[in-house]
Amino acid sequence: MKEPSRRSVDSAAQQMIARAAEDQVDLVWDRYEAMQPQCGFGQLGICCRICHMGPCRVDPFGDGPQEGVCGADANAIAARNLVRMIAAGAAAHSDHGRDVALALLEAARNPDSGYKIRDPQKLAVIAQEYGLDTEGKSVPEIAEAVAQQALAEFGQQEGELKFALRAPASRVKVWRERGLMPRGIDREIVELMHQTAMGVDADYRNIIKQGMRAALADGWGGSMIATDLQDVLFGSPQPIRAKTNLGVLKEDHVNIVVHGHEPVLSEMIVEAARDSELLARARELGADGINLAGQCCTGNELLMRKGIPSAGTFLHQELAIMTGAVDAMVVDVQCVMPRLAELTQRFHTQLLTTSRKAKIPHVQHLEFREGQALTTAKEIVSVGVENFANRNGQRVQIPAEQMDLIAGFTAEYVNTLLGGRFRPSYRPLNDAIMTGRIRGVAGVVGCENPQVPQGSGHIAMSKELIKNDVLVVVTGCSALADARAGLLCPEAALEWAGEGLKEVCEAIGMPPVLHVGSCVDNSRILIACTNMVTEGGLGEDISDLPVAGAAPEWMSEKAITIGYYVVASGIYTVFGTPHNVLGAPDLHKLVVDELEEMVGARFDFEPDPIKAAHMMIAHMDKKRAALGLDEMMYEQAAPVATS
């Protein structure tokens, strides 16, 4: 598996992988290979480290123990492990949301913080939703009240999460009846941790139930707060042209890569990179300017709001360093590989950690403080600028690849996008689906994983879906993988989309694959689905819609959380590699079958992206038939199954 082409489908990545091999630098793929074969007990989810009577494991093949020391069977063990992944993922997204709410509070109270409220209209809408009296109040006053309301949702002990009530009435009813309605964000996560502690819950169905509740507290809580308050604080995205891939790094500029997940700091770095003194210093040192590039979801946040180019996805983080052209890599939280510490030492690159939650031994830490956001940001940029002087020009090797893309679609923007400025509405989208021009909508999201050649799953799946007139929405690493393949350009519709989708894309000038944001922005997909239901004609609940989700290259706990809130919201979802449940037959059956009865949707596991796309399409066809929608307008590459 040493050949670069088996590690990534991206030619820029392949060049850097080859370079690493020449330089005898270990990359994530090498470490993955060194880890083979991986522990079967872990993969099957049947090892338990929850108490110190263990570790325990259930014997999947032999006649060894079938339960742990406490008596927990494979189903209980695997379910506890799985939902603890949900708890961690929900905590990660939601803590991100909390930080945004705190930044909004800072912006409202401290005029010197550097933050401004860029979308007061969205702020007003949210204030109204919270039932706040805005009459005669200034924007900072409203912002302060909204931030406090949002923060209260984390510690709320009773009642229901405000944003969960945005869901269609019939979905809210399902949640209430099944005991899935989240009460407070932190509470659901804490309760999940308690429920899975030693000697508490042994019923895998009940464990998964609370897992879904915590996941919903993320999707319709923490993540949604993150998305909405980021829009308020940094501006709601609108379609914007930008570029992605390693080619966005510039040989003659100071290159600063911001990597991680939160825009709270990186938005300030954008400001700081425009500072005249820092620019002057950069020129003094021989650079033409300061080039800021994003990575992972911090990259997505800047991409969709500011058009800042993205240097790539999760598996590009080491490859960006391999160009030898990155003067500083600034990381905040999540998906940052600790290995960057050693890798950056092989080049001149200065790695900077900035979050008190995420440090790496021997790496310079410049802690970001919301109160002095701009000052910290300037310090950080200054480190990059000064380090330009240490760059060894002979070691710089930047792949030429960079691809145009359009990012910045939101649930709100779909109104204008399809309905036009004068009659903004979801009607045209619903009509296109009902008349058989569009077969359905698919969300292809999630991470990258060295188990799968980088991007191969996302790109093949998206292409297969749009070929079959399925409109695709993407977030996170999936979005940027598709972007590298050119799928986020309007022209992609002409080349790859089926006839029906092509007509819609051509009429509007939109790409067949819509970039709807970072990984917390999967909440935008939930709202878009809700809007489709509200618009009418496609059923009463999200589970009636001809829509499906997928995470073909997932790796993070966050992906599991997203999967469970998406399914608990009524959306059928296909993961590439299975969740760690296969060692637990009853739990496995629950996840891929019985959840349908509980929440109107379930999971499937299918590593082949084309087969997975066909499973999603078959699901959409089933929903179309149930709704009695028109037949597809044009002949379909993957024909509608006649049952």
Binding site: P60, G62, G64
Partner: protein
């Protein structure tokens, strides 16, 4: 060149990964995910046994003069290649368990459907493809190694282990569980250590006669045989193994 799997007891952390890998390698699909769904489920022929605080992975020694081959009434157990492993022909095997009773190491087991016995084949298919046996490859700590029998480390371990045919087990052996009661002589076909029924006395006598050994030698149940085997491996380890460069721990 004949090869043998040797065990570095001190490196084994008891993760049982070798067992899982063995079962997968002997499944139809050869992948973890699909092997999990197979019926009957694939079974491992390596077993990790606890010896006091240590864990020891055990598998067939592929004895030079293998008792299982000698006693099989159907010639289902054979060594087709004189330098290769002892293999079971599952078509011929009737599941009579004679080999199970005579294996000095307790490393032959019945299949879950009871139709045939299961034992280590040294992953002969994988070896043919130039790969390591699945258990060796899966071992995260390198406790298992496939060596030529001429290798000094392999020879030492083999000699130490093959003492098993004659060596009495010491009564004061710590932590061996079933063995600590000591040799009680064995009677009525019961295990001389733990008293569990091994086979009918007449059958034991017949098998012992076939092998030309004392019937007492066969009055040990599979669990106690494995315990004895793992103890011997631990002892050979304690003697120090110059070939692996670690010396004494």
């Amino acid at each position: 060149m004949p090869r043998v799997i040797i065990v570095d007891v001190e490196k084994c952390v008891g993760c049982h990964s070798c067992e899982v890998a063995c079962a997968i390698a002997h499944s139809t699909a050869k992948t973890l995910v699909e092997a999990m769904q197979e019926q009957p489920p694939p079974q491992p022929s390596v077993a990790v046994v606890a010896v006091g605080e240590a864990a020891v992975p055990l598998q067939c020694r592929h004895c030079e003069d293998a008792p299982c081959v000698q006693v099989c009434p159907r010639d289902a157990l054979q060594r087709p290649d004189p330098e290769g492993p002892v293999l079971v022909d599952h078509e011929l095997c009737t599941g009579c368990q004679a080999c199970v009773i005579v294996c000095p190491f307790g490393m032959i087991t019945m299949s879950s459907d009871g139709k045939s016995v299961i034992k280590c084949d040294l992953c002969i298919e994988r070896l043919g493809r130039g790969e390591q046996p699945a258990c060796v490859e899966a071992c995260p700590t390198g406790s298992l190694q496939l060596l030529d029998t001429a290798d000094p480390a392999a020879q030492e371990q083999r000699q130490a282990v093959e003492v098993i045919m004659t060596a009495p087990v010491q009564q004061d052996t710590p932590g061996a569980g079933d063995l600590s009661a000591g040799d009680t002589g064995g009677a009525d076909g019961q295990c001389k250590f733990c008293g569990e029924l091994v086979a009918r006395p007449a059958r034991i006598k017949r098998l012992a006669d076939d092998l030309g050994i004392d019937a007492q030698e066969l009055c040990i149940c599979q669990k106690c045989r494995r315990a004895r085997y793992s103890q011997l491996l631990c002892k050979s380890e304690a003697m120090g193994n110059p070939a692996d460069g670690r010396g004494e721990a």
